[in-house]
Symmetry: C2
Subunit: 780 residues, 2 copies
């Protein structure tokens, strides 16, 4: 069943990728055809600005569309990769994986790419794939609500995260034709540990997606030279084969290796600067643009569109150099050159003589993919000023664009900028008379890798993606060296752009390593000692008050204290001070009660187990509700050892609300047997749209009822000892994807709770500071 | 410092790989030159058996050498990959990573490959890399024992495992020229979760190894056509470019995809059969050959050598077909054809006419790499009977060879067999008149992938390695499909060959997923309830008795019982029944004692912390000894709650022995202050060669001493609640690389211990059985 799901995810992702591609293709065709027709008409009459008007109008039109879509669903802005990263890290991001986001993102990217922005469609594609991954297994709940298919629900965090991983892999596979790279990407960003089953599934998903896309691409007239059924169009980006690939061997010698290291270092520097500029811009933007209303956002987007279009047009017209076309008949990209104000040649029986093209226009009035191809494959055509100008122009505009209210990928712009950078260096070297045996396109590729590595700082997965999308394994080693150097150099200055955006948005993402110096901290130092707890059997009114007054998402279930005096030792607004009736019961014979309860529960469990044999114990550590108590074996050994506040389990806010909503409580007088039962699946069926406590109306008599939560709590979440080193806490969170980690003392008492927010850099620094001050005081 | 280490590991691995390669090259040259000289002399005189004698003699000679080396160090037998897998899984394998093993393995593989066995040098190369990884960071302890370099020791399990991962990646990189594949391999097999730092380090290590190897290969006359400094010899195996690679595009159409799926399924079947044959053989061999003395092992090895040589010779002589040479001047492998009894042609100004070669001899009297290249690139040269015969011959002999007392890789033989299989199918199809557009070499590649996938069942990493070593990214998708199908089909029947060998050796490897049906089990069901515990302050003689009488590797440290009556509730031969003096002390004022202790300890800690600021808290969960207690914050909250048998910490056997050896104990009369201190590093300095308890002589008065272990125990290992589902236990073990997991009840009491052996399939099935019987009884 899972495999079918996964295949479906792959196929749907591939199809959406295809649709986006077709859309962009035709929009672009429309744009450039219109533009060049007007250009042809007006070039001699001096009213060339009309052509500018056409293209600018088109772009503004597109930008308005894209802006409106983003305004409808703000999370569709940006590349989506930071969001996916957070999601896979275990953070609950509202609205990230909704159908509406999918629509906004997919249509938005159509317009933003077609609108001439310096954005790529790859990041959004990955986001799209992830949404599909999240959505497909839950289709039933949207469409066939009534149809009861005999498959499990997959409606908990762990499963959903796995499907999202698969979807992201499929997205990468569709975008770059890189199934292996996709799997690595989703593993690197998302999964907590290498799970072989998941790896296989995401690989399968990525393959389905690639093959689907391939079939569709070759089956439609979009790629004219491909025949249906051939397997050579695995992705949307294809950089083509390099001219000295295939010539075998003598490509890389050691002197070049040093050159690559230098280029890598340069790319890292440029990337770090790009990131720091963009960070400042983003902070400024969040303060001054996004705070204000929708109109400002739109205005910025339109402004970007105008500036991009006009500056490109003016630069291409005034500063472009006319370069003769070197005819290489086998090159399919030859028709993407632009001859913009350059003399056209004479065509003599299919061979053109004296044909020129405008190099700057070729770079600027093309899709970015075509520009990259030109940079990679066009032999000795671009002049130094052209490359420099284009580089500067692209660099700043791309930096401005990323983060605006647009669906915008980062990959392709970075590759373009990097290719310009690499090409600039090689051209400069050639101009300076330094002989190079390697063709300039290769340098463009190395430069592209260096800059991309400097900006996003991805690692192995990025290398694999680049290798897969360039179709050249021979470049593996040089690319690897370049990327590594770029990352190192960049890391000296700041973080990767995605991480910067996550940081700016103040999302508590857990990084790879726990920050340094935290070795001195222990769980006690970071935990929140303000316990919010309930008893296994509590008063409903009290629970409601607890839920209303606090914002915590998980609550301890602890044994009640034996005597009233111990009750106030912890500062808590819990339910401890009320319910004398309950209290009496417990203080009378707590041990007998527990034992009785235990037996009754066990009998019930046995009955239940027969009924729902499918209900497996869920090991997510978070969402598992009613794990049956283990029967037998150690029984009687510890029943008598439960002291006050002994930790019994964890219950989530959503579960409490659901229990309350379904009126799972009992009247004190009738006894606990009168409490209804609810299935474990029902408890979580609202996922991910849980009810809120405010939505529930309780009558006065309900509030006097008691609720037995012991059946529904998670009796054995991951816990940590109070003097455990922080590194362990970090590892547990990171590896198991936890959200709450109870801290327990030696005797099993709950002493605090650690959440993700307690592990952010900021919070840790504060804790460290507090601790060092504390110990200084001790020494004095 | 780590990075320097890692670079060193890479460089050394690359150098060793190069040396092995050179050795094999010259031994082989010697062999074939000698053989063909005798062959030339005798071919017309009818005494051809003399040539057979020469080659057989040489091979037997080699096999004796290899056999002796393995006899010296038995763990050097086999490919080493299962051993590395177990090591990285967290199992302590004795002697796996010693220098002596390295020597035996490296020299052994030299002779076993040169001796004409059907073995590869890749597995051993990976093992070699891993040993280098384990050894380099500990060089100091061998060589510069006196030299105190200012770097940390890296002498605990976690760090060592990381270095071994790097080394294994370097080994793969050297063997296949596949740095990315190497990293994936070591991640897939080894690491518990994707640690970005580790990934980078192993990538760097793999790159160093590849570049070193490349430099050495191009710098020596071994590869005559390579110029020094070129980067085109990244690995020892290079399959060369495919003839229709580079022609662009039209390679894969959908009908072929189905063909690939069929080939993959066939490869899976053949692989599964291979595995099952080899399993039976290995079991038989372990019973009847390895049990007996050294002589039998040697005899088997020599027998294999004889059978291989003689059968190849006879087959090549009698059944080889003479095939005309198709001259393709650009092919460097053309000189590896053998014309063995076939008419040689006339050489006319560098072009040969009417030259024939014996196809079977070409396959059989070559290095396996050359055979593979022939199969991949020789156009239409092999006849159907030749291929079939060679396939059968290789299949059975390789199956026999793997697992014998030889260093023997599995990759290359499997690739050869698979290539024969693929080539056989395409030749059969061509003979049957089915037209195919793809050149037969491609089919050989697909077949090789299918069979290899069917045998070893590796996944993503295997694909990447194959892609990297074939230098053809275009084949990525077809290879992926084939491998996936092969794995699926094979998994229907049995496990991968490495896993089979691990299983046969009864090593408690933890697989990827917990086995099915265990969802019903909890920690209680699998734990060992037979507690072995000591108190924080115990009598030395009792500890010694405990260590001598049990074989456990970790012991609980628990609080002493308050009254004598509770003492016997757990069945234990611990130290609970003695030491009235200690007992009196504790029962008198346990709380005061603990508090006093705690304060004293904390003061000591503060002093210590100043002294060794470098000593960080180790999060390995196993080997961390004296983690300082956290100061402050929750103090006083729980000191009074420590009941009898409350779990305080875990102490390892090795630590206890070390403490005893260093006489870290005190006389009852002088008080605990007189106990010496020992640094945390010293506690583990003997790693991995810990002293045994038998090595320590204790005097009678020593036995009356008391030992305070509270400073040296690990106060917060990972623990698990007694009713935690087994899946969680599994995840913790798998992810954190644990060896012991204490089971704790709600009130913090120790109730049992789970070790790796408790999680083997066998043990789990037993537990499941016991549980179901138990619950049936309950129902009756």
């Amino acid at each position: 069943m899972r495999w079918v799901m996964v295949a479906l995810i792959g196929i749907v992702t591939g199809t959406i990728a295809f649709l986006i591609n077709v859309g962009i293709h035709y929009l672009r065709l429309l744009k450039y055809q219109g533009f060049f027709r007007v250009y042809e008409l007006t070039r001699d009459s001096g009213t060339i600005f009309l052509a500018l008007l056409v293209i600018a109008g088109f772009n503004v039109f597109c930008s308005i569309f894209a802006g409106i879509l983003v305004a409808i669903e703000p999370i569709a802005a940006g590349s989506g990769i930071p969001e996916i990263k957070c999601y896979l890290n275990g953070i609950r991001m509202p609205r990230v994986a909704r159908i509406r986001t999918l629509m906004a993102k997919a249509c938005g990217v159509l317009f933003s790419v077609a609108g001439g922005f310096l954005v790529g469609k790859e990041g959004p594609m990955i986001h799209t794939g992830a949404i599909v991954g999240a959505g497909i297994p839950q289709l039933r709940s949207f469409i066939w609500k009534k149809l009861r298919l005999p498959y499990p629900y997959f409606r908990d965090d762990k499963n959903k995260r796995d499907f999202v991983s698969c979807g992201a892999a499929a997205g990468v596979a569709a975008a770059f034709g890189a199934p292996i790279g996709g799997v690595l990407f989703s593993l690197e960003e998302g999964s907590s540990f290498w799970d072989q089953g998941l790896t296989w599934r995401s690989l399968f998903c990525a393959m389905c997606s690639t093959i689907t896309l391939n079939l569709l691409l070759t089956g439609t007239p979009l790629v004219p030279e491909a025949k249906f059924g051939e397997l050579d169009q695995p992705g949307l980006i294809n950089f083509g084969r390099f001219s000295n690939g295939g010539s075998g061997g003598n490509l890389w010698t050691f002197p070049y290796l040093f050159l690559f290291i230098l280029i890598g270092a340069g790319g890292g520097l440029l990337g770090a600067w790009f990131n720091s500029l963009n960070k400042r811009l983003t902070i400024y933007r969040m303060k001054h643009v996004f705070r204000k209303n929708f109109f400002y956002k739109m205005l910025e987007v339109i402004l970007i569109a105008m500036v991009t279009t006009v500056s490109f047009f003016i630069l291409a017209t005034l500063l472009g150099t006319c370069v003769p076309v070197i005819t290489r008949s086998e090159q399919q990209f030859a028709n993407s050159t632009r001859n913009f104000f350059c003399p056209t040649g004479v065509t003599f029986s299919t061979i053109k003589f004296n044909d020129y093209f405008n190099d700057l226009a070729t770079l600027m009035f093309n899709s970015e993919e075509d520009s990259i191809k030109q940079l990679f494959h066009q032999d000795g055509a671009f002049t130094l000023p052209t490359l420099g100008l284009a580089f500067i122009c692209y660099y700043f505009i791309a930096c401005w664009t990323y983060g605006a209210g647009l669906p915008s990928g980062l990959f392709v712009p970075c590759l373009t900028i990097g290719a310009l950078y690499g090409r600039f260096i090689i051209t400069a070297m050639q101009t300076a008379g330094i002989p190079t045996a390697i063709d300039p396109g290769t340098f463009a590729l190395i430069g592209a890798a260096a800059f991309l590595g400097g900006v996003v700082r991805m690692t192995v997965s990025l290398t694999v993606i680049l290798i897969e999308s360039t179709d050249e394994i021979e470049y593996g080693l040089p690319l690897l060296v370049t990327l590594m150097v770029a990352k190192w150099v960049g890391d000296l200055f700041n973080e990767g752009l995605y991480d910067i955006h996550i940081e700016v948005k103040e999302i508590p993402l857990l990084g790879w390593d726990s920050p340094e110096k935290v070795d001195r901290l222990t769980a006690t130092d970071v935990m929140n000692p303000d316990l919010k707890y309930i008893y296994p059997i509590s008063n409903v009114g009290n629970i409601e008050r607890l839920l209303t007054k606090t914002k915590h998402n998980a609550f301890f279930v602890v044994t009640a204290p034996l005597s009233a005096s111990t009750e106030d030792t912890t500062s808590s607004i819990g339910v401890s001070k009320q319910s004398p009736l309950l209290y009496k019961r417990q203080s009378m014979h707590p041990i007998h009660r527990t034992k009785l309860m235990e037996q009754r529960r066990r009998r019930k469990e046995a009955l239940k187990r027969k009924e729902y044999k499918e209900a497996t114990i869920n090991d997510d550590g978070e969402s598992s509700g009613a794990t049956p108590f283990s029967s037998g074996a150690v029984e009687g050994l510890h029943d008598n050892a439960n002291n006050a506040f002994t930790f019994l389990g964890l219950i989530l806010r959503s579960q409490l609300v659901k229990l309350m909503h379904n009126r799972i409580f009992f009247d004190e007088e009738n006894g606990v047997e009168t409490q209804h039962c609810i299935k474990h699946e029902e408890l979580n069926e609202d996922y991910p749209r849980f009810k809120r406590i405010d939505d529930i109306e309780l009558k006065e008599e309900d509030k006097r009822m008691q609720m037995d939560v012991s059946l529904y709590m998670n009796p054995c979440p991951y816990t940590v000892s109070y003097h455990a080193p922080l590194r362990r806490v970090f590892n547990l969170f990171r590896t198991m994807g936890l959200r709450h980690l109870p801290v327990i003392d030696n005797s099993g008492k709950a002493v605090g709770m650690i959440t993700r927010h307690d592990l952010t850099h900021e919070h840790l620094h504060k804790a460290l500071h507090a601790k060092s001050r504390h110990s200084n005081n001790d020494n004095d």
